[in-house]
């Protein structure tokens, strides 16, 4: 166990498919490099070619079955741009209702089932307890019931209006296919009010269990989980967080606005770097450049998703969420915050904004207007559509012929924006825990927590059942002989 060792963590879980982490040690037995490999590609950008544009919202959700609504909506917005048609006010409201319901239920899934159990039950708790059942054990059965109810009711809204919760179908250029009636408005408004209460209550749980526990707070603000990068997110005209629409804003690691641009101009700001050892690409800020897997102001690496969105904004769009936004930055002590584990906190604040937005939309009876779609009259050409998926800024870009048949498609998928940062976070955690060839058992937990904070699509179903993330670390000597294996 002297030199040239390789540590394999396989499978960590999947982004698009499984993921595998390879850690290489140097002569001293310290970490030299860590690689997160994504061994999966399906080729959507190529097989989109030849398809009628209006079918894209029904094809692209199959990129990810966990966040199909994000692809559906980004694709539908791309069609608006492509066909030069604005959605009717009601069409837009219905889309925003679906989208906020989705943002809420997805964030809640993550906090209670996937990433949150690390916190709620405790990072030192037995692995078998760090799941939804462990959460219920800690916070009580009544609360467990509330979690299930809140998610079920939010998903019912998407199911009713979108057709299917896994792969919705309602988006068309200029609006949506199905209207809302009064009976369902009343029912969904009840749900939304409950969901606001629930979101506040989730933040209370975070407060009680994490913030009142110094040990947890120390982990959150510790060095092992900190990387300094640029941040990106959609903002409205007042620079408040918006999931459905707005301009894309980028802030520097020190917080100064670096860029603010329209979806259509994304190619002026973002490029993607290719590495031969993974099927996933690494987006970076074009005007800084790709400098490798390094942090800081001179590196084009940026981050997306909850904490990044809050960092890139001047506040939340709804009053209750705004209170929590202010409190979060007060506790973290700086804005932007570079603490990867604070993604969990930001996620709950976003869930609250999404809930409040649902109530606002459903209290407005304009949402009942039967005029749900503007039928396009112009010749389709080219379109870009952007939304904030739960896991980050999601770009769809299509070109068509005059009949609206796709000739070119380009996609920058939410989690992929974070690909470089996830690699760096894992490397940092590994460096903190592997010294002189000694691998502490804590590496498993730490790597898992660093990874899971990003909620990379499929970060995953792991906590949904008794059991936890499938992690194995294998240590090989230079002849590839297995010398040690850690498993949980």
């Amino acid at each position: 166990m002297t030199n040239n060792k390789r540590i394999t963590i396989d499978p960590i879980t999947r982004l698009e498919g499984h993921g595998k982490i390879e850690i290489f040690l140097d002569d001293k037995g310290d970490v030299e490099r860590a690689f997160l490999q994504i061994p999966e590609l399906r080729g959507f950008e190529q097989f989109a070619v030849g398809r009628p544009a209006e079918e894209m919202p029904r094809i692209t959700p199959r990129i990810c079955g966990v966040c199909p609504t994000a692809h559906h909506m980004a694709s539908t917005k791309t069609l608006d741009d492509l066909f030069h048609v604005e959605p009717t006010p009601t069409g837009r409201m219905i889309r925003e209702l679906i989208y906020n319901a989705f943002q809420f239920e997805d964030h809640t899934l993550h906090f209670f089932f996937l990433g949150g159990p690390d916190f709620v039950v405790g990072p030192q708790a037995p692995a078998g307890d760090r799941n939804i059942l462990g959460v219920i054990g800690k916070v009580g059965l009544e609360i467990g019931g509330k979690v299930i109810r809140a998610r079920r009711e939010a998903r019912e809204i998407i199911n009713y209006l979108g057709g299917k919760i896994i792969h919705p179908v309602c988006g068309l250029p200029g609006g949506v296919s199905k209207a809302l009636d009064e009976e369902h408005r009343v029912q969904f408004l009840d749900s939304a009010k409950f969901i606001v209460e629930f979101s506040q209550f989730a933040l209370q749980i975070f407060d009680d269990i994490v913030l009142k526990n110094k040990e947890y707070v120390d982990i959150v603000v510790g060095d092992a989980y900190q990387i300094k990068t640029y941040y990106m997110g959609l903002v409205d005209e007042k620079n408040k967080v918006n999931f459905y629409d707005g301009d894309i804003r980028v802030v520097e690691p020190e917080g100064k606005e670096f860029a603010k641009f329209k979806a259509r101009d994304y190619l002026d700001h973002i490029s993607e770097h290719v590495e031969p050892w993974t099927y996933v690409k690494f987006p970076f800020l074009k005007n800084i450049g790709w400098k490798g897997f390094v942090e800081g102001k001179d590196s084009g690496v940026y981050r997306v998703a909850p904490l990044a969105r809050l960092n890139a904004s001047d506040g939340m769009a709804t009053p209750l969420a705004q209170e929590h936004y202010e409190k979060m930055y007060e506790v973290l002590g700086e804005k932007p915050s570079h603490h990867t584990l604070a993604f969990h906190w930001a996620r709950l604040i976003e869930a609250l904004q999404a809930s409040e937005s649902m109530v606002q939309l459903l209290e407005n009876k304009d949402i009942l207007d039967p005029n749900i779609r503007n039928i396009p009259t112009e010749t389709p050409t080219e379109g870009v559509g952007v939304v904030e998926a739960p896991r980050g800024t999601l770009f769809h870009h299509y070109k068509t012929d005059e009949k609206g048949i796709i000739t070119e498609a380009n996609l920058i998928v939410a989690t992929v924006n974070n690909a470089a940062a996830i690699n760096m976070s894992i490397e940092k955690a590994a460096k903190a825990l592997i010294k002189g060839g000694k691998v502490t058992e804590g590496l498993l937990n730490m790597t898992e927590m660093a990874f899971r904070a990003y909620d990379p699509c499929h970060a995953c179903g792991t906590h949904a059942l008794p059991g936890d993330m499938p992690l194995v670390i294998k240590i090989y000597d230079k002849d590839r002989e297995l010398v040690k294996q850690l498993k949980k």
Binding site: Q46, P52, F83, L172, K178, S271, C460
Partner: protein
């Protein structure tokens, strides 16, 4: 531990994870399943590895549920191993059943897919023309990736399959019915698709609005027209795959006022879903004049990608000819 619970495995190939969500969406029912069986392999949820499966006796897994199409060498190896270790294999969801949306990749090949993804997309900055490789050395460190095939395969083109659970994703009631049938040993004949063997139109609420003799003069695209929320889509001139598609989905897309795209595949009597739809369509065109037929057919955009939206790899064509791909 006197009576041993049946062992069950779940695996994913080229898929989106929606099938895993569908299982998790069983909510309270999933706990009943967990009680009744012993899950021995499920990479998304449980910590068991390939070598654990290799160590099992042949045939010792009662049933393996496999979702996703087969597109990578790793997937082929894994499903062959699971076949060897399993009494039953169920193809779970459209991708493993028919090829699914990733099966549209069969209009292309590895080279064109890689060229697009890594070289020609406008956001890609790749002056050296780097593409992912099966084997790479980075500063003397060797990294490997599974091989990417030219063609997407259905599960039964790679291994023997006992049953098919259709849908993208399969609905909860069909999943529970299938699990119960397997647990109770009330199995249909081998090769059965576990959903009623009749067409979607037979169950569709809009069937009543379908005229006695359905005829159409032109094809409309869903974005071009107001979609009547009660009338048969074909009667509105909008392509709906209902006549060529198996029922059992609950007409969820139609409930949202959008036409069927065929994710359940065809009924038992039909070999090729696209060909079946074409013949249904031909029978409702309201003309015998060849020129007019041609004119109507011209209004159908992307027939191959629409009629075979979910089933290209399972069709009689399987894929576009390699020599036709530029």
């Amino acid at each position: 531990m006197s009576t041993e619970k049946p062992k069950v495995a779940f695996y994913w190939c080229a898929s989106c994870g929606g099938c895993e969500e569908a299982v998790i969406d069983l909510a309270e029912d999933i706990l009943k399943v967990v009680e009744a069986v012993d899950i021995v392999f499920w990479p998304v949820a449980l910590d068991f590895k390939k070598k654990d499966v290799e160590a099992m006796k042949d045939g010792s897994i009662a049933v393996s549920f496999i979702n996703g199409a087969v597109r990578l060498s790793e997937q082929e190896e894994m499903v062959k191993l699971l076949r060897q270790k399993s009494g039953l294999v169920v193809a779970f969801g459209s991708c493993s059943h028919l090829g699914g949306i990733p099966g549209l990749g069969n209009f292309w090949n590895k080279e064109t897919i890689f060229r697009r993804a890594y070289l020609t997309t406008p956001s890609t900055d790749n002056p050296d023309g780097t593409v992912p490789l099966e084997k790479t050395e980075v500063d003397g460190k060797e990294l490997t990736l599974p091989r990417f095939y030219d063609t997407v395969y259905t599960l039964d083109q790679v291994i023997d399959v006992d049953y098919y659970l259709p849908g993208c994703a399969p609905p909860p009631d069909l999943i529970m019915n299938a699990l119960q049938a397997i647990l109770e040993g009330k199995l249909p004949p081998k090769g059965a698709v576990l959903s009623p063997n009749k067409s979607l139109c037979d169950d569709c609420k809009r069937n009543e609005s379908k005229p006695e003799k359905l005829t159409i003069k032109e094809i409309k695209r869903p974005w071009e027209v107001e979609l009547d929320p009660e009338k048969c889509f074909l009667a509105q001139g909008v392509i709906c795959m209902g006549p060529a598609t198996r029922t059992g989905c609950g007409e969820r897309c139609i409930e949202a006022n959008m036409p069927c795209r065929g994710c359940f595949g065809p009924t038992d009597q039909v070999i090729d879903q696209g060909a079946k739809f074409l013949s249904s369509l031909a029978s409702i065109l309201d003309t015998d004049d060849e020129k007019e037929i041609e004119k109507i057919v011209d209004t159908i955009v992307d027939p191959a990608g629409t009629f075979y939206r979910f089933s290209l790899p399972s069709s009689i064509f399987r894929r576009r000819r390699m020599e036709d791909i530029k």
